[in-house]
Symmetry: C2
Subunit: 329 residues, 2 copies
DNA sequence: TCTGTTTGTGTAATCGTGTACACAATCATG
DNA sequence: CATGATTGTGTACACGATTACACAAACAGA
């Protein structure tokens, strides 16, 4: 119990070889007698020896650590993607370090801390950090950065999301249903992705001679969706609310029903964004502009693998969203 | 761009000192002239130098990494606690490595991988790994393990959860409302925590001359809650379902309403467990046996800090749950 | 048999820090 | 002013692996 881990040198003594041979026994393709290897692996198992990844990282300049910069873990919009990505990383023997930006006072400090661990890759989900900051902090440690936000930089790969067609489809249907006055409920005041999403819908409305009449700002949570929807519906006569994400949409739907007695889709149309699993639950049944999470994470993993294999240059992948129909619009 | 990180030796040359002095400049309390330190820090900032945490870890035998063994990231029951814990760890300059067990074929392999990174602490949320396995794998690297499951071991601290009183309260109310036939919908077939939770309710029923009449097994997801509830309600005439977690409870509630036209709480009582934020949403309004997440994570952090400061021995903390009332029971 | 290749292993340097030890310079104290 | 404590810095080694290089043994082909 509680005994210190055995080192390769100690194991070498036990197996009657040099520490170099120990190392070779654990490197798949290296010149070593198969008899020796078997003996070493057996002795290693017996003593619970495993090569120290920290020492190994120091030597090869590869940590096999990946920093995941996220807003929050609990937030379902990201959680499903995080889950998927973590799974994929683990299958490739890469370990994720989570950097949770939501309630951390000094996000840059946090990223600097992670950068000292020589992470091999960085994936930025969060829209709370400026991409330029991420590059500045991590460029000294050479990892590639995968991010939503397009940034021309030789170290940054991007996943671009295009939801304009899906937004157009959704607006088409809502307008056909007779709705005329639209509100947009943003998730943040300053996020790049939020502005992009808003533009998809604004463009679709403009095409039909309509516009976003009212606007509100929440923080991607149910409570903020609920609260802002109440305020919105009290101060303006909108009959459709496009929300920055699904969770806020659920909050807005509840607010309309509970506080103003308005039901979807007859009295008011409500649209979410993300396409989280919960949106499809029977009690929610949300109409939402949905991103294919699997395709999204496939793209991220693809970029990471490309970089892991030292293939040249950063890349850019564009994914399109699609409409997922529920009973709220 | 993309230039290799500067090392302490290179910085030493630039600042006209030895690499040892560089190291001292970054160690808060070490003998160094304040003028020298200021100069070094300034040159360091200029060149983007930060001490390499990997090398430092190798040297001090402290990685400041914490392994978080969880079932899934997306699962809301854990997500809130994870979020809180990650926040606390980050505030202490500890970085979390996530080990996601849910869909990983070889959990032990995964834990072994993490153990090679010499993590300082391990927190086991998941009930999918046997505690004994965790101890076997991590004991060679000396970290303390914080876990739900009580295990007598000098390296394991426990957080025990007691929900018996709250379960009694809840059963009391449901029985008073006239319900007589109870079903229990488990989250897993084999989990230790699931059996414990079930026992709280079974005991409360036994006290009143009642028992769990029907039983089903899901996997903590909405879909499984929905599906199992349908089967359960078709094969037996229960009028109350206690669910292994909140998400399944929401699924069960939807199933009862949608597939059998039974509403809560009049036709059927439905109870969740965990007390996740979503349970309190207006559209759910779940009665649930709730754990105080903040207190829980406080306890975890307390144990970690104690161990981080090299205070003696593992400890055990017991927390009690309380009933949170909604309109489903 | 002689030479040239292949195979298996050990030696020693390296990765980037932290720190024990040594030593010079500065300071306090009588 | 002499002496001892304190302060600031450099030198050298340790942390635990990987790997270039060297070298002996085994083996191939003529």
């Amino acid at each position: 119990m509680n005994k210190r881990r055995i080192t390769s040198k100690e194991l070498a003594k036990l197996a009657g070889v040099s520490s170099a041979t120990i190392s070779r026994a654990f490197s798949p393709d290296s010149r070593i007698g198969s008899a020796t290897r078997d003996r070493i692996l057996s002795v290693a198992r017996e003593h619970g020896y495993q090569p120290n990844a920290i020492a190994r990282s120091l030597n090869n300049q590869r940590s096999r650590l990946v920093a995941l910069v996220v807003n929050a873990i609990g937030n379902p919009c990201e959680a499903e993607e995080q889950q998927l990505l973590v799974h994929r990383l683990q299958a490739r023997q890469l370990l994720p370090i989570i950097l949770c930006c939501a309630d951390h006072d000094d996000r840059l400090q946090l990223m600097r801390l992670a950068s000292t661990y020589q992470v091999d890759h960085v994936v930025v989900f969060s829209d709370m950090v400026s991409m330029q900051d991420a590059v500045d902090i991590f460029h000294t440690t050479k990892p590639i950065i995968v991010s939503f936000e397009p940034l021309e930089n030789e170290n940054v790969s991007n996943i671009r999301i295009d939801g304009s067609a899906a937004a157009d489809e959704i607006i088409e249907k809502i307008v056909k249903d007779g709705k005329k006055r639209f509100a947009y409920l943003s998730g943040t005041k300053s996020s790049w992705i939020d502005k992009l999403r808003r533009k998809w819908f604004a463009d679709a409305l403009a095409k039909r001679g309509l516009a976003i009449e009212a606007e509100a700002f929440g923080d991607y949570t149910y409570d903020s969706g609920f609260k802002e929807a109440v305020l919105l519906l009290h101060r303006s006569k909108v009959d459709a609310i496009i929300c920055g994400n699904d969770v806020m949409a659920i909050g807005a739907r509840d607010a309309a029903r509970r506080m103003l007695g308005k039901n979807t889709p007859d009295d008011i149309a409500i649209v979410g964004q993300d396409g989280i699993a919960m949106a499809a639950w029977d009690c929610n049944d949300l109409t939402t502009l949905s991103l294919d999470h699997v395709a999204f994470i496939d793209a991220v993993v693809d970029l990471i693998e490309r970089h892991d294999a030292d293939l040249p240059g950063p890349h850019s992948i564009t994914l399109t969203c699609n409409a997922r129909w529920g009973s709220t619009a």
